[in-house]
Amino acid sequence: MEGGEPSEEEATTTEPQRPGAGRRRVALFARGDLVGESYEVLDTIGEGGMGQVVEAFDRALNRRVAIKAAWPGNEAALRKEAQTLAALRHPSMVVVHHLARHESIEYVVMERVYGVSLAQHMLRRARANKTFSVPEVLDILTGIAEGLAVVHRAGIAHRDVKPSNVMLAPGNRVVLMDFGLSLSEADRGSGAGPTGTPGYMAPEAILDDARSGGRYLVDIYAFGVLAFEVLTLHTPFPGRTRVDVWSAHLSAEPPDPRAQRADTPPKLSELVQSLMAKAPEDRPDSIETVLVDLRELRGSSSEPSRAQSLSVLIVDDDPDLAALMRAHVRKTVPSAVITTANDAEAAIRHVHGHPPDLLLLDLRMPKMSGVELAMYLRGTHLADATTIVAVSGLAHEDDLALLRQLGITTFIPKGDGLEARLASVLRDAERRRSSLGR
C-alpha cells in the first residue's frame, strides 16, 4: 500500500521522540504470520517513521489487504490516521477496513492499493532525463488537488503533502497516503513544534505558527512545491541541511518554473509561484480555486497524436524469444511497427515517448519483473490505452490475480500454442486500433 521512497526524506517532528527512532527496528510482522486469525502476511511493503506496512491475504474475505502496524510508542498516531481515513470516502483515499491489536501490536487493515509513488515516478523520469509533458503534469496535479479538496472539505489538513505520499494507481486514480500528521482545523494543535517534511514545509509550519482554521494553507504551499518538482524535476528550495532548506523556505523568492522549463504555460507558472507565496494570505484561498485553474489549463492543452500503424512493444530478456515473437508479429500484421526491449527500464524509456497499442510482456525478468513493470505502467498512466498481454513460460496464480486487478486478462504461455495465441491477440489489437480510428 504505502510505497516509502528510500531516498525520500522522512517527515520531521519535534513531537516526543518516538521510541526506537534512529535504531534498527525489529519487524513487527513477517511473511507467514497469521494476524488477527484471518490475515496471512505475504510480504513487507515498506517501513516508515510510524510503522511497518505489509501485504496480507484476508482469508475470510478472500482478498489482499495492506496492514499498517505501529512501532511501539506510535499507536496513538496510527489510530488517528485510521480514524481520519475512515471519515473520508473518495477514490483518492485508502479505504480502512479494521483497526485492532495483535498480541501487543496495534494495526490497521486497509485496502491494498497497487501502483507507484509519485516520488518513484519522478525519480525514474529524472534518471531518464525526461520531464513530464504539460498534459501529464496537469493530470497528476489535478488528481492530487481533487484528493486534497476532499480532505480540506472535511476540515482536516494533511500536513505532509509530498511526492512519496502520493500513489498513482490504475484507472487514473491518484491516492493520498500517510495521514499520520494530519490535524483537524478545529484542533488546537499538539504544541509539538514544527511538523512536516523539511523540503515541503510552509514558512508558518517551520515557525510553528499555522493558525487553527488556516492549516490547509500549509498543504497548499506543499502542493506548490510538489507542483514545481513535477514540472521541472527539481526542488525549488534546495539546501544541504535542514536549516539551509528551512532558511530558503523562509526567505528565498519562489522560483519561476519557466526559468527551468521554457514550455511551461505562463498561467501554470504563475499558479505554481502563487501556491508557494511566503504569506499564507497571498496563496490561493482554497484548493478548490486551484482545481478550477488546473482544469482550465488542462482543457487548453492538446492531446498527443496517434500513430497510423499498429505499434507493438515486445518486452523480454531472452533475445531468442523476442526475435521469434517479432517474426510472428510481422507474419500476422505485416504493417506493424515493432520495438523490442530486453528489460523493464528499456521498456519504460520507450513507453515514455511512444505508448504502444500492444505490449507483449514477459513476466520473469531480472531487476524489475513483468508484474512490477505492469504495475508501474498502470500506476503512472503511461500506457493506459495500451493493451498489455502477459507472455511467460510459467505464471503463478498470485501474479495472474494481480495482473487481472491491473486490467491485464490475457496470458499466453510460451509453448506450442504461442504462434496461434499471439495471432489472435494481434488481430484483436488491430481491430481495436482500426475501430478507434487511430
Binding site: D318, D320, M325, H328, P413, G415
Partner: protein, 101 residues
Amino acid sequence: MVDDDVELELEELRRTYRVSLPAKVDALATAVDARDRETASALAHRLRGTSGAYGLSAVSIEAGAIEDALAEREIDWGAIAARLESLEEEASRVPARPTRR
C-alpha cells in the same frame, strides 16, 4: 512477399536456436554444478519458455521440471542433476534443422 520473408526468417531463427541449444544446456549445468540457485533458476525458466515456443516440447518439459525443483524450499540437488541428464539427452535428440511439417 512479406510472408515468404517471414517464413525464411522463422526458419533461420529455429535453426539458430537449435544450434545454440547445447550451449544453453551447458550454461544451466554449470550453474547447477556451482549450486547457484538463482542463476540456474533463471536459465531453466528461460529454457522452459523459449524452447517450448520454438516447438521443442520435450526440452521445455525437462527444463520446467528443473525450474520447479529449484523453487522448492529444500533443494534436492541430486534429483536436479538427474533431471539435467534427461534434459541433456532430450537436447541431444534435437536435429539441427527442424523437420518440415
